[in-house]
Structures are given as structure tokens and as C-alpha cells.
């Protein structure tokens, strides 16, 4: 061990990791830029904002009148409008981050490229929960709908876990059970829709579109708690997810308590998913695609993959929000629709561009 360090290989590894870290911070910066654009684009459409700008243009006596009489009201209205926009951007960032990171965790613990909150049936569970609240409790109350979504998201995660515990199931079995569960909840949801009134069906369809506009700051704070609390736990175990990628047996032989890791991560990621879905509806695509795009770019080291996938998810969702509000303005397209319509062709492009089966 008396060779000169740093060695070429050591330096190369360090440089690789530095590049990944730089990419991660660039994504955070990009998220901020996209969010700022989002705010600017939104703000330019708002009357009060223009009025606010007009305040500072010199326009003689009228200007003075406006200053004296209308200022307080105009400023308040403008601030409220800006706050609403900021809320949208914040929620988009949160939900994108949560879905991206949770998706990467699901893929890690199930060692399957198909794994995401939705292929495990957790998204459908949440959907069923929301719909049943709308139907049975006339639930046009956001909290009631969100609560239903949350409870059923966790229930479906627990069902998968239960099957895994009882049968000592492989990751393939868990995915299969998840997909079966997804069909079950979809059918139950359709049944409820079939039973519902026109108004209820309208509400349900709107919920399923996935939209950021259902939430105000109190809801966002609650979602933030659910999405952010599991993050440190998952990042702390991120190296262990690498070991899981080497196979359960190898991970066990390297001293990892595989069952406990899988259960902890599944619960943490389900809580994040529930936090993402309950106030926004079904925004499915980000959770599947953000981890894959990240893996294509920086490789499979979960110590980087988890945070980068989260930040990429945030960028994607804020961008989708901006697009949804500008493409067909003044109509606002639901964000769930935008992410899939833009995202799927892009993902196909990436799939075709890559020659290898995995990345």
C-alpha cells in the first residue's frame, strides 16, 4: 500500500461523483429558474399585476388618484394572486420531488424497472379512496377527499407488504400483486362512477386529471410534511439500496437486514406518494420516468440517483405546470394530462436512443 495517491482510478471515481453532484445542484438551480418562469408567465396574465405595474408609470392626476385611493386594494390583490401562483409552483416542486424520489425507491426495493407508485396499485388505491369520499360523503371538501386518498394509498401499500410478509414474496410477486390490486381499485372506482350522479362524476373526472389548483397553503404545508419527513430516512439508507441491487442474498451476506430495509422504504415511499396524490389527484408519469431518465444520465448509484431523481421530478412538474397554463391559454390544462402527453414521446425517444436494455 505504498503507492502514490491519488491514483488515476481514484481520481476518476472522485471526478465522476463531483460531476454528479454538480448536476444535482444544476437541477436545483434549474428548478428555481423554471419556477421563476412559471411565476412570470402566470403573473403576466393577471389584471392586478398589470395594475400594480401601472402604479409606477407616470400618468398624471389619475396616477395620483390611483396611488391614494386604490393602492392598498390593488397591492393586496396582486400579492394574493402572486401567492396563489407561488403556491402552485411550490406544490408542483414538492409533488414532482416526492414522486421522482419515491419512484426511484420503489424501483430500488423491488429491483424492477416497472415499479412505481402506480404499478404497485398505490396510486389506484388513492384514487379509489378519493372517489369513495366524493360519492359516499358528497365530499366536495378537499380534506375529506385527500384523507380518503391517503388512507387507501397506505392500505394498498400495507396489502402489498402483507403479501410479501406472508409468502416471503419475491419482487416479481409484489409487482404482480400490485398490478392485480391496480385493476381491482380501477374496477371499484368505475363501479362508483357508474353509481354516481352527473355532478359527482364530473368531480371524480376532475380529480383523476391531476391538478395543482385544488390546494391552498394549509394543504401544501400538510403535503410538505408527508413528502419531506421520509426523505432523510431514505437518503440515509441510499447506499443500502445499492446493495439491494446486488440481490437479496448478497445484501444479506453484506450485513443488511433486507426485510426491514424493504418494509421501511416501502412505508416511507408510500407516505410520500400519498402526500403527493392526496391534494393533487393522479399525476402518474413522473414517478416512473424521473428515475429512469436519471439512471440513463448518471447511472445506478442510489446515493445520487435518489436526490437527482427527486429534483428532476420537480423540474419536470413545474415545467408541465407552465406549459399547461400557456399552451392553450386562457384554458388551463390539468397537469396530469400534460406530463403524460409531453413525457411519453420523450421517454420513447430516450428508450430508442439507448442501445442497452437497462442503463
Amino acid at each position: 500500500m505504498n503507492r502514490q495517491y491519488p491514483e488515476p482510478l481514484y481520481r476518476r471515481y472522485k471526478a465522476d461523483n463531483r460531476a454528479k453532484t454538480i448536476l444535482m445542484f444544476s437541477l436545483i438551480l434549474l428548478a428555481c429558474i423554471v419556477a421563476a418562469t412559471d411565476l412570470a408567465v402566470g403573473a403576466s396574465d393577471i389584471g392586478p399585476w398589470q395594475a400594480f405595474v401601472a402604479l409606477f408609470k407616470d400618468s398624471g392626476r389619475i396616477h395620483d388618484i390611483v396611488w391614494m385611493l386604490r393602492l392598498p386594494r390593488v397591492v393586496l390583490a396582486a400579492l394574493a394572486a402572486l401567492a396563489a401562483l407561488a403556491a402552485l409552483a411550490a406544490l408542483a416542486a414538492l409533488v414532482g420531488f416526492g414522486l421522482g424520489l419515491a419512484g426511484a425507491v420503489f424501483q430500488a426495493i423491488l429491483r424492477n424497472p416497472l415499479a412505481s407508485p402506480f404499478t404497485l396499485g398505490i396510486g389506484s388505491g388513492a384514487g379509489f379512496g378519493a372517489v369513495s369520499m366524493i360519492i359516499f360523503f358528497g365530499g366536495f371538501n378537499t380534506y375529506l377527499v385527500a384523507g380518503g386518498a391517503f388512507v387507501f394509498a397506505l392500505l394498498s401499500a400495507l396489502l402489498i407488504l402483507g403479501i410479501a410478509r406472508l409468502k416471503n414474496a419475491s419482487s416479481e410477486t409484489m409487482i404482480l400483486a400490485g398490478i392485480a390490486q391496480m385493476f381491482l381499485f380501477s374496477s371499484l372506482t368505475s363501479l362508483l362512477q357508474y353509481m354516481g350522479t352527473m355532478e359527482q362524476v364530473h368531480e371524480i373526472v376532475f380529480w383523476f386529471f391531476g391538478s395543482l389548483s385544488k390546494a391552498g397553503w394549509p394543504e401544501i404545508c400538510l403535503a410538505a410534511v408527508m413528502i419531506l419527513i421520509p426523505v432523510p430516512i431514505l437518503l440515509y439508507r441510499s447506499w443500502d439500496f445499492n446493495l439491494l441491487a446486488a440481490g437479496d442474498e448478497s445484501a444479506k451476506a453484506l450485513g443488511i437486514n433486507v426485510e426491514r430495509l424493504r418494509i421501511t422504504a416501502l412505508l416511507a415511499a408510500s407516505l410520500m406518494t400519498a402526500g403527493c396524490i392526496c391534494f393533487t389527484g393522479v399525476i402518474s408519469f413522473v414517478g416512473l420516468v424521473a428515475p429512469h431518465i436519471t439512471r440513463m444520465v448518471i447511472g445506478g448509484d442510489y446515493r445520487f440517483l435518489l436526490p437527482v431523481s427527486g429534483f428532476l421530478g420537480a423540474v419536470l412538474l413545474i415545467a408541465a405546470d407552465t406549459l399547461g397554463r400557456t399552451v392553450w391559454a386562457p384554458q388551463v390544462l390539468p397537469i396530469g394530462i400534460v406530463t403524460s402527453i409531453i413525457g411519453v414521446p420523450f421517454f420513447f425517444y430516450l428508450l430508442l436512443k439507448k442501445s442497452r436494455e437497462y442503463w
Partner: protein, 266 residues
Amino acid sequence: MLRIDDLSFNYGAVCILAEIEASVMRGQILSVVGPNGTGKTTLIKSIARIVRPSGGTIRIDGTDTSRMTHKELARRVAYVPQHAPDTFPMTVFDTVLMGRRPHVSWRPSDQDLYLIVEIIREMNLEAVAMRTMDQLSGGQVQKVLLARAMVQEPDYLLLDEPTSSLDLYHQLEVLEIIAALIKNKKMGAVIAMHDLDLAARFSDTVIMIKDGKVFGTGTPAELISPENIRAVYGVEAAVDRANGYLHVQPLRCTGERAFSNEQRLQ
């Protein structure tokens, strides 16, 4: 010394392993041979505590391994699987780095990285160090898995048929690397093997398993005989010595085949 006493493993009501006695010293190789499905892999996995044995004790230098945590055990014993999974392959460097997990609580230090570099060089894997595992040949994969076990700095290596999917060159290369490691680093090794010639050539002790029980233990020359091969494998064979090595030449099946565990489970 790694010592196995009265080890048993049951799967439901079916007994996979029973009354297994074996031991291996540091600096020595113990080969486990026997027909398919006779419990060789289960024995290896029981020692690594990937599966929990139903009874018996495994001691490392006098300490009962069932009293150790998974992490403590992982510092003493390294397990080398047959394959690496192909979903989401890691780079060679990251794969070898996993071996430091039992020694590091959160993130590897520079010292850990130096050790990885050192062992990747020793194994002649520098050229492929930044490639992902799915871009390697079978022989290279086996060497990477071996490198990961070395980085664990264990006292004992457990290998599950390390040469089963390799060509002639890599079979020899991998076993020579293992033999050199055992000698130089004073580790002990338990290897499940199919190839009796290679088992005879590289092991200090051979343990022959039939139907989940020890059929015999001894040096290769004592144990690998036409009578034992006939009794354990149901194959008539000639055993001779050529160029200083024991050589088994299978002649014909006797038709008296022992039931494998898979068959017994059905």
C-alpha cells in the same frame, strides 16, 4: 477455525441438511461436493446466514455465529454468489465498494476508496472499473464478485460454485486467484463445487454430501474414489492420476440415482 457442528436445515417437513459436521482452518480450502440438489448451496448459505439453519452451531474461532449481528458476521465471512442480477447493473467500482458496507456506517472514506482501487488493480479489472456489470464477460463478473468479497476483509470466504458458468481458462484463473488469496491473506474458504477434478486439485479437504448428509470427509485422494463416486453420484468412474493431478473419468450411469432435494420436496 470455522467449525460446523450437527447443522440441520428443514424446509417445512422436508429435511434438506442433517447432522452436518465440517471444519476449515485459515489458509485452507474446504470443497463441498455432491450431486445437484443435495444441499451444497444451502450449506453455504447457512454459514453466511442468508438462510437460518434449523439446528446445530457454526463457530468462527470459537464464537457462535448465531450470537453475532448480520454486520459482525459480514466482517468475518464473505459470500460470493454465482451470478450478479442483471436488472439495474451497477458499475464495477460501485459493486466492489459494496464490500465495505460491513465496515462503514454511512459513507465510505478515502481509505476505503484506496482499498477498492488496490484490489481492482490486483484483480486486473482496472480497464473495466467504470463499466457496468452487464458489459462484462462471465469470468470478469466472477472476478468482480470475488473482489467485493476481498474488500470485505473477511477471515473466511464462502463460494457457491464459482466456476460453474465459466470456460476452461476462467475456471482455472478464478480458482488460482482464490488459492493465492487463501495462501497469502491467510483466509479460509468453503467452496461448493461440481467439478471433481478441480475440487481435487485445489482443496485441502473435501466433504461429500449425499441426500443432505455427510457421506465422507477427507483429503481429495482419500475421498475421491470410484466406490464413493458410484455411491454418491450413481456413476461408474475411473480415477487416475496424471501430471500430478487426480483425474475422474466418468464411464457410465449405474441407474441408481439418489433423489435430489427438489424431488423430495415434491
